[in-house]
Symmetry: C2
Subunit: 181 residues, 2 copies
DNA sequence: ATGGGCATGTAACGAGTTACATGATTTT
DNA sequence: AAAATCATGTAACTCGTTACATGCCCAT
């Protein structure tokens, strides 16, 4: 039995909370996780849903709605839960991967000017601050949410990450500014 | 003029240090950057090199070697440098993206047991410590390297990132252990 | 002598993205 | 009146990975 793509486990994981959800809903939830795992395009979600349906890891129900477009709701099956649990228990979890376009540019800083690099860092710090403000709002919602017991934990982890990024970016910014003058 | 894939800019960036390099060498250097940008497979590197050669963003020279397999060395052209600089100056730099399989599993923690999650975190912390030890070694090499003026900076950034990960992982570990008892 | 590193490349596959497509409702 | 949201799906494309393939040198 070959392993499924991560997108499948994300779908199963999202359905494991018990709520029947449409592909659209799943995509929305996946977007909330994008701070630590990028949300796949909706086309990809629909494709994986079909596959999981064929594998009987989930059930689908067609729902005709008035006033809104029809939708299809998915629920995880016991087999689906088993597959998800197996993935959870996997002993060799892949190391986190980062794609950090700013750091890449910083590494090639010699083809630019310090002034440009400073401006990059400033913009990055501003974005970190925006993200932190947003995370503070989310943090309130996730705390004491009995349906998502580990949500608050990952939100806090994220906030810690973004704060660390801001701190080190500021440090590098200070250094570049010092060197320039 | 449509934008190139990031792999191309990585190649151009690596060649921008001035050393003529083979595809093999480029791949090795790219691996050093994998802490903040995953290194593409060598097959991908060779494919991009062909494209960049056709676009005349680099020159290739065939070198017959004795005692070793023949190789092809690449050098960046002025046009290549121009394209790289344009990419460096791009005002809207994409936000960093993370794929964090551990955090994903933590979020779906309810389908597992606290004991399992604790074990995951312990392994992650151990890996962070290994990475930090490795980074300490690299840090020595990169400091005062006149050929790579910004290398030390990104290594330090990385070390800061891994330390932040270790700290927050430890915090979460403590919390789970407290809740369990 | 066996495994790892050097060096290059092709082939097949899979995952993921963007763009194309439709159409109703709700919000601004 | 226009834009955003709900809702689903296909098609074309690209990037990237893994596996296949070759062959020599060097260290253990």
């Amino acid at each position: 039995m070959k392993t499924l793509p991560t997108t499948s486990y994300i779908i199963l994981g999202i359905l494991s909370f018990g709520q029947p959800l449409s592909g659209y809903d799943i995509r929305k939830t996946a977007k909330e996780l994008s701070h630590f795992y990028p949300a796949p395009a909706h086309s990809q979600i629909y494709r994986e849903l079909r596959r999981l349906d064929e594998m009987e890891l989930l059930t689908s129900e067609y729902i005709a709605q008035e006033g809104k477009p029809d939708k299809q709701e998915f629920e995880i099956t016991p087999q689906g839960t088993a597959v998800l649990q197996q993935w959870m228990q996997q002993s060799d979890i892949d190391a986190p991967v980062r794609k950090h376009p700013l750091l890449l540019r910083l590494y090639f800083g010699h083809v630019s000017q310090p002034k440009e690099l400073i401006s990059m860092l400033e913009r990055y710090i501003a974005q970190c601050n925006k993200d932190l403000a947003q995370l503070a709002i989310v943090e309130e919602y996730t705390e004491n949410d009995p349906d998502h017991p580990y949500a608050a934990l990952v939100v806090e982890w994220n906030a810690h990450y973004v704060m660390a990024e801001r701190t080190i970016a500021q440090k590098m910014l200070d250094r570049l500014q010092r060197d320039q003058s």
